[in-house]
Symmetry: C2
Subunit: 423 residues, 2 copies
């Protein structure tokens, strides 16, 4: 039954119950954490054979000794592998070090130095980026680092609000880019529909190819379901629409093999790649090719990736099920929260009643359950409705996850009742 259908007396009774439970948690000395979008040890174990996989063989077919210096674009075999993640030919893939975030930062730095700063100075305009919300805080941090103004755009069920985006881009040449996590989006789990992808390829941007779509396909192969979502190929559509120079794709093996020791990919037109490579040549001699070769040997091909990701699903699928079950059991049909049941990715996105996210997060924190700070999924930490909470279920043990969720639902219901009673 919805909470708002209860009488004041019923609400007060329930409040007392919940307060008792909450006090019990207080004295339980819990230390639980739902913030960390990182794989658990069992997942990492899946890739333990990476270390030692080369068996002393360090030479590539083309004669390259992967142990030595050089090769900014990455080894040919790893470019092929990246092509599988991003659905691109190898020639449009560059392979980086252990972090696609670093590639994104470097790409923004490259655009700032080569184009955007000059334009901004000559037009006396602030450089702006569109940020679908809720979104990934690390993208926002990069904008912050370069003093790029962020314009939030709402996420809808099939991707960002394209009407809004098209309207903004048709009138403002100082908008230089947009952050997208097009598949199993962080945190909402949304996969952009074919129509949305098509509209991305045909955006009416007046900044032309100085506008960049930062297509962070972080969860390209991270399915939680045997009928995975399908994402259409933006680069193909953009080639058709003659906007390929605006498409910059990213992927990595961070949540495939070792989170901190994977390899990263950037996908872009050959001209863009050449220019970016030239920019990088001042700061690097080349990525870790030995680790690239390890990943090629370990993942092998599309079938290899798929088989490996199925093992991840078997480990984390039950955690996502547990989140949905506990939330349903305690909050289902109560009218005080809604949440996503993602088909892939790493997060569950939950909305409280407006204005309650920070209260719930504080209450949980006070009894030892850490949640991602309120607003973290919004530019400048500002969730205008103060209602979004990101839950990351992969890292804790099943038991710790259950405990943390049980505390969380008590906090959420209690905060909701307190608000209702204050009216």
């Amino acid at each position: 039954m919805k909470l708002e259908q209860l009488s004041i007396t019923q609400l007060e009774e329930r409040q007392l119950q919940l307060e008792k439970q909450y006090d019990a948690y207080k004295s339980a000395g819990l230390s639980l954490d739902l913030t960390r979008g990182k794989p658990g040890a069992e997942q990492l174990d899946l890739s333990n054979s990476l270390d030692g996989i080369l068996q002393g063989f360090y030479l590539l077919q083309d004669g390259t000794d992967v142990r030595n210096y050089g090769g900014l674009t990455g080894i040919a075999e790893a470019r092929e592998l990246g092509g599988l993640f991003m659905d691109l030919p190898a020639k449009e893939v560059m392979v980086g070090g252990n972090s696609s975030l670093t590639l994104m930062y470097n790409y923004i730095h490259f655009m700032m130095e080569s184009v955007w700063l000059k334009e901004s100075k000559s037009n006396n305009e602030t450089i702006k980026f569109l940020c679908p919300v809720p979104g990934y805080d690390r993208h926002f941090t990069i904008c912050d680092a370069f003093n790029i103004e962020m314009i939030p755009v709402n996420m809808l069920d099939d991707g960002p609000d394209m009407d809004h985006i098209e309207k903004l881009l048709a009138q403002d040449a100082s908008i230089k880019g947009i952050w997208c996590v097009p598949k199993y989006s962080n945190p909402t789990g949304t996969t952009y529909s074919a129509e949305v992808v098509e509209r991305f390829a045909k955006l009416p941007t007046i900044a032309g190819d100085h506008f960049k779509i930062m297509w962070d396909n972080a969860y390209a192969v991270h399915h939680l379901n045997d009928q995975p979502d399908q994402l259409s190929n933006l680069m193909d559509a953009a080639r058709e629409a003659d906007t390929a120079e605006s498409v910059i794709m990213f992927a990595s093996t961070s949540k495939v093999t070792f989170a901190g020791s994977g390899i990263s990919f950037i996908g872009l037109s050959e001209d863009n790649l050449k220019a970016f490579e030239k920019f990088l040549s001042a700061s690097a001699i080349g990525p870790d090719k030995v680790n690239q070769l390890r990943h090629v040997r370990f993942l092998v091909d599309a079938d290899g990736i798929q088989a490996h990701m199925r093992k991840h699903k078997d480990i984390i699928g039950p955690r996502f099920d547990m989140v949905d079950n506990v939330l349903n059991q305690h909050l289902g049909n109560r009218g005080i929260a809604d949440w996503t049941k993602p088909m892939g990715g790493y997060f569950v996105s939950l909305n409280t009643l407006p204005g309650l996210a920070s209260t719930v997060i504080k209450m949980a924190g006070d009894v030892g359950v850490k949640l991602t700070p309120a607003g973290a999924t919004f530019p400048n930490g500002d969730d205008p409705r103060n209602q979004n909470i990101r839950i990351a279920p992969t890292f804790p043990s099943m038991e710790a996850l259950r405990q943390a969720l049980e505390v969380f639902v008590v906090c959420l219901e209690l905060a909701s009742i307190q608000q209702l009673l204050k009216r």
Copy 2:
């Protein structure tokens, strides 16, 4: 006998001989390369056990799982290891990815964004750097990338010309730093004397701690002799002189283990480290900790490093001997070239008669022997006397090295005679 003591007839005779030899090389279809300051395959083989060394153990004593995300400063064990390379306590060491060059670039980027650009704007002054010459071209490229003006300063036998440096720094606050390779300097092999290091600690810079000494100790443990050069500890001297905030040290295992897959170190005061870490946090989640742990297991401690580097010496020592022998045999006491016989590092630095470097390099290139481009060891590629040539003997096989050197000495002598005869 010195060439200039020969008669014109003798010179012309010798010229004919050399031309014959040169023509023979022309038709020999050689393809040799003395440009690459990188280890040969035999050296890389010394570290093949890196891959697989962890044997499935990925947990640190402090509980860190090296496979997962996080830890921008690097793992404690690797910070200790870096301390051995730079003679610093672990708390003043941050461990990066596979390239100290990237750490240098990032540090310059950090200083640009946090301090230098603002100062430069408000004073309407160009940002400048001192560059001991001949020096390392990659340092100059970083300056180029950030539009930093480079002021060359001559290298003397015991380090850079400190009188000149002190004079410049006492009068110009827009000089924000200096590049140094203080041990077995690239390319001259010079190790800075204790007096020079002491003077670095007490530089009369009016830029204060906005002035940074970029102390690239790339060859800290790369001895070619059993009585290695000793470099005094700049950080100790700077602490004493209250200038420690100006000291930024670098080292790496690039020429210790795998050139492209090593780990890198930056050494700096704890305050500097904290500020730099904060800057990096926008672009990275953390370095490859698995590879850091591999290096800790592989090199172990100071004795381990020393024993390992002795094996490198056994491989590359004979190559340096060959360079010196061939040069001596053909150019000794001829008054047309002088060169270094380094006690460590990766290069031999040779000076031709003034004005001849580019000619010799072109002549050698025309018969298939590639040498580092003339001027590469100077800012903006400008060797004012056009006489410095950098020879890198580690990468080719002994036989290829001998062939290349024999071509080289013919080109050098021939060019010198041609010049003498033109007088």
